[in-house]
């Protein structure tokens, strides 16, 4: 089965995010008020062929641990969807 996967990579709580801070600092200057806690992450999309959803999820989790994230500073959220 083929699945569409999206992996959201986010910096862990407490890890400095200069891009997020810069965006946040710019918002009031552009007239947008009340914007806080801006965090910038990465979104990695791909398709994966696996026996079933459980197997796909397991493979992606391993991929995240070994390659797509640095577990010392980043978390991953995996979204999976059957491709039609």
């Amino acid at each position: 089965m083929e699945f569409e996967a999206t992996v959201e990579v986010q910096l862990k709580e407490g890890i400095a995010d200069p891009q997020g801070s810069t965006i946040e600092n710019a918002t009031p200057k552009l007239g947008f008020n009340g914007i806080e806690n801006v965090r910038v992450g990465k979104s990695i999309r791909f398709t994966i062929t696996a026996k079933d959803e459980t197997e796909a999820e397991k493979t992606i989790q391993e991929l995240c641990e070994k390659f797509l994230t640095n577990p010392v500073i980043e978390n991953a959220i995996i979204h999976l969807q059957g491709a039609e």
Binding site: A16, S21, F67, N70
Partner: protein, 222 residues
């Protein structure tokens, strides 16, 4: 016989010639090693230089660690021989699991390129054996992601095992514990953000990188 230092070159490395020139000027033989080959030849020590290996795509060091040369560097390191990662090389060594922790973006949101003062915390490593404890060294930094971070347990381990080699006198980037350089538990794999190879000639404004690279060359000879 003088030792031979191999300097690994990745696509995007940009300090390999500086490293080669510095160790050669200090009496070592040296050669460049292309990342795509797992053959390190007869080198006695390995330097992973600064730059932007593989464009720093995904994360600094994330792709470089899977290069064939890195598999050999891991075996080389496990056999107790000296490995030095400078700047991007330090990031690659943490990604490869040869050194603990990670390098995050600088506190203060700035790319930093300036000389900084470092203090030698221990002389027990392949990078600091020829220095004196508490020496103050002036060496340039040149990075955006040099803010060292690790878990509390790792930090305690680094302290307890005397594995913090160099600290910043005035922390420029937010590194935990002012850490500028560390070593592994065998003390033969070292990583630091500052560039000793850029402080090896009076024309460059400092020769304080010499005792560090001397130490590394000396460790490679034995």
């Amino acid at each position: 016989m003088n030792p031979t230092i191999g300097v690994i070159v990745f696509p995007g490395s940009n300090c390999e010639q500086d490293a080669l020139e510095a160790v050669t000027s200090l009496g070592a033989n040296s050669r460049l090693l292309w990342h795509d080959s797992s053959d390190l030849g007869d080198v006695d020590g390995v330097i992973i230089p600064g730059g932007f290996a593989h464009g720093d795509y995904l994360r600094p060091g994330a792709i470089a660690r899977f290069s064939p040369a890195m598999e050999s560097v891991i075996t080389f390191a496990q056999s107790g021989r000296p490995v030095l990662g400078i700047c991007n090389g330090f990031q690659i060594l943490t990604e490869a699991g040869l050194l603990p922790g990670a390098l995050q973006k600088n506190r203060g949101l700035k790319f930093l390129c300036k000389p900084v003062k470092l203090n030698v915390r221990t002389t027990n490593s392949v990078l600091t054996s020829q220095t004196t404890k508490d020496d103050s060294l002036t060496i340039p930094i040149n990075h955006f992601e040099g803010n060292y971070t690790c878990s509390d347990e790792t930090l305690k381990e680094l302290h307890d095992e005397d594995r913090i080699l160099l600290t910043y006198e005035n922390n420029p980037n937010g590194s935990i514990g002012d850490i500028a350089g560390i070593c592994n538990d065998q003390r033969n794999v070292v990583g630091l953000m500052p560039h000793p190879e850029r402080a090896c000639h009076p024309l460059l404004g400092s020769i304080d990188g010499q005792p560090l690279l001397h130490s590394f060359i000396e460790s490679s000879s034995s």
